[in-house]
Amino acid sequence: MSATATAPAGGTTSGPSTGHTQVRNVTFARVLRSEWIKLWTLRSTWWTLASTVVVMIGFALLLALVVQLAGDAMEGASPEDQAAMGGVLGGTTVVAAGYEMAALVVAVLGALMITGEYSTGMIRSTFAAVPGRLPAFFGKALVLVLVTAVLTAVSLALSWLVTYPILNANDATVDFGDGDQVRSLFGTVLYVSLVALFALGLGTLLRHTAGAIFTVVAIFLVIPTIFQIATFAAAQLEWVGTVNKLLPSVAGAQITPNAGQFTDVLDPWVGIAVLGGYTALVLIGAAARLKAQDA
């Protein structure tokens, strides 16, 4: 009774402690659940995910329209010419048309998952609850990769659905019996997921939202564009071609329907492994900094 009498007024009879608060050990599954809650309780998540879907469907529709226009123009052309057209703008190319932009949007999500915590101070709460730190980081990575993979797959499915009438009319639908086409769609999911992870790693290394996003855009958009021009303008320089095919975006893109832009490229699976290697390096560096430095 005396304890109740001295308890601070808080509107409950229990006081700060009820004496039977259930507290369990920190496990990776619980950390994962915490990161899952964190992801879905921010508006920025919903914005970026919605943007990804819109970008994927939008680009697919746009390219489907090109297929339609090309089909109209090609009417009466020889079957060989029509086949050539279908080769450049196949069903998978149309369905996955927005994957590069989608990857950049998802990269923003990946970077924000960690830089948002550093900029607001949330990271200190995170590390107070999970003082080992790495489980929280890997929890973020796993949640991110799961959400990104599902999101990309769903976006591809929706893009396929909305472009189906146009592609069907032009005899350019995705052939799910063709192993290469299925692989390229699966590869698109892999590519976008790896870029998201890459951005998470960069965000952890830089601890700065704008800096991380700028760097991702530079690596996946600006530098490849420069090299794309360079491969034409300075084709005689061997190193330009070598660096170009080893760029994260060019190497990773070989597994997607967007392959075939360049002649000197890596094998699709080697290419995605190279992108995976870069991502692993960034994540290892990020984990090392996260573990060693003051929060």
């Binding site: 304890a3 001295t6 308890a7 601070p8 007024a9 808080g10 509107g11 409950t12 229990s14 006081g15 700060p16 402690s17 009820t18 004496g19 608060t21 259930q22 507290v23 369990r24 050990n25 920190v26 619980r30 950390v31 659940r33 915490s34 990161e35 809650i37 964190k38 309780t41 921010l42 508006r43 920025s44 948002g116 915590e117 607001t120 101070g121 949330m122 990271i123 200190r124 709460s125 590390f127 107070a128 609850a129 999970v130 003082p131 080992g132 060693a292 003051d294 929060a295």
Partner: protein
């Protein structure tokens, strides 16, 4: 129980915490007192493993914080009122924290109720006042029903009712046998809340004693005497075992004697007095003299007598 041994933190050439050794006992509120930049926050951050010590070590309930399997049940820490994502609601923040330790939703709602956060629980933290942020930080600290509480400047930004609430909750938690370690830059706040106080300045421990001891030691009395025959009076007083400081020509500060005794002595020797003022030094002044050499950022002398308000002003 918190035990720090030779705990040191250096940032480049700057030493924030300089080999401090102390023990925070359970069952009482321990105040951690020091001016701005004294090393209070750095020390507290090292206790919960956010900052790595350059040297020395610190344990909580016998182990380094990170070695505990249920850290939130060992230590609840309010280190920074805004260690919360501004885009998340208060309740969702607590739910995410609770999930790491399998703490049930009922406990989340309990701490929300307890800290008076219910009206704003579903609002995003970005719009919170400092006081509400502080309450959320305390709610998060209480989540795991911890044996040890670390509260860095918990009354900052709270209204008077909130300040009272923090004092009561700190005392109540200590009365349950928990360890409560609470930092403040205000001696008066510590004197009201804490049983024991550790004073830190420039990264070093200046005092580690029961509050009453510091308070008693603090309230030294002195008598200010103004007299045209100051030199003569000073000799007389010194002969009578008082300590005399000549502040300026004609003005003395006398310790170890009372105003009445000084007056009688002067009258007996027919010395004219122009002023005879007993001066009780306040708690804040005692704290100022204790930390005088260790204040990181000296404020300019705005008013000669404004020592205590200078201190608060420099924190604002």
């Amino acid at each position: 129980m918190i035990e720090a041994t030779g705990l040191t933190k250096r940032y480049g050439a700057k030493t924030a915490v300089d080999g401090v050794t102390f023990t925070v006992q359970p069952g009482q509120v321990t105040g951690f007192l020091g001016p701005n930049g004294a090393g209070k926050s750095t020390t507290m951050r090292m206790i919960v493993g956010l900052d790595r010590p350059t040297a020395g070590k610190v344990t909580v309930n016998g182990k380094p914080y990170a070695a505990h399997r249920r850290p939130l049940a060992e230590v609840g820490a309010l280190l920074d009122a805004k260690a919360v994502h501004t885009g998340r609601t208060a309740r969702n923040h607590l739910l995410a924290m609770a999930a790491t330790h399998g703490i049930p939703t009922t406990r989340v709602d309990e701490v929300i109720e307890l800290t008076g956060l219910r009206p704003v629980a579903t609002k995003r933290v970005g719009g919170f006042s400092l006081g509400m942020g502080q309450r959320l930080g305390i709610a998060a600290a209480l989540l795991g029903d911890p044996r040890t509480l670390i509260l860095d400047e918990p009354v900052n930004g709270l209204d008077p009712e909130g300040v009272l609430w923090v004092r009561n909750i700190a005392k109540y938690l200590a009365s349950e046998g928990r360890t409560v370690f609470l930092s403040s830059h205000l001696m008066s706040e510590v004197a009201l809340t804490a049983d024991h106080v550790i004073v830190i300045g420039r990264g070093r421990i200046l005092a580690d004693a029961p509050v009453q001891e510091i308070v008693d030691g603090a309230e030294r009395k002195l008598v200010r005497v103004r007299s045209p025959q100051a030199t003569e009076l000073a000799e007389l007083l010194t002969a009578n075992d008082a300590q005399v400081d000549g502040v300026e020509p004609g003005l003395l500060e006398v310790r170890g004697s009372s105003a009445a005794a000084v007056g009688e002595l002067a009258a007996a020797s027919r010395i004219v007095l122009h002023e005879l003022t007993p001066v009780a030094s306040t708690l804040e002044e005692a704290y100022m003299s204790l930390t005088a050499d260790s204040v990181e950022y000296h404020s300019e002398d705005i008013a000669a007598s404004g020592t205590a308000s200078d201190l608060e002003g420099s924190k604002a």
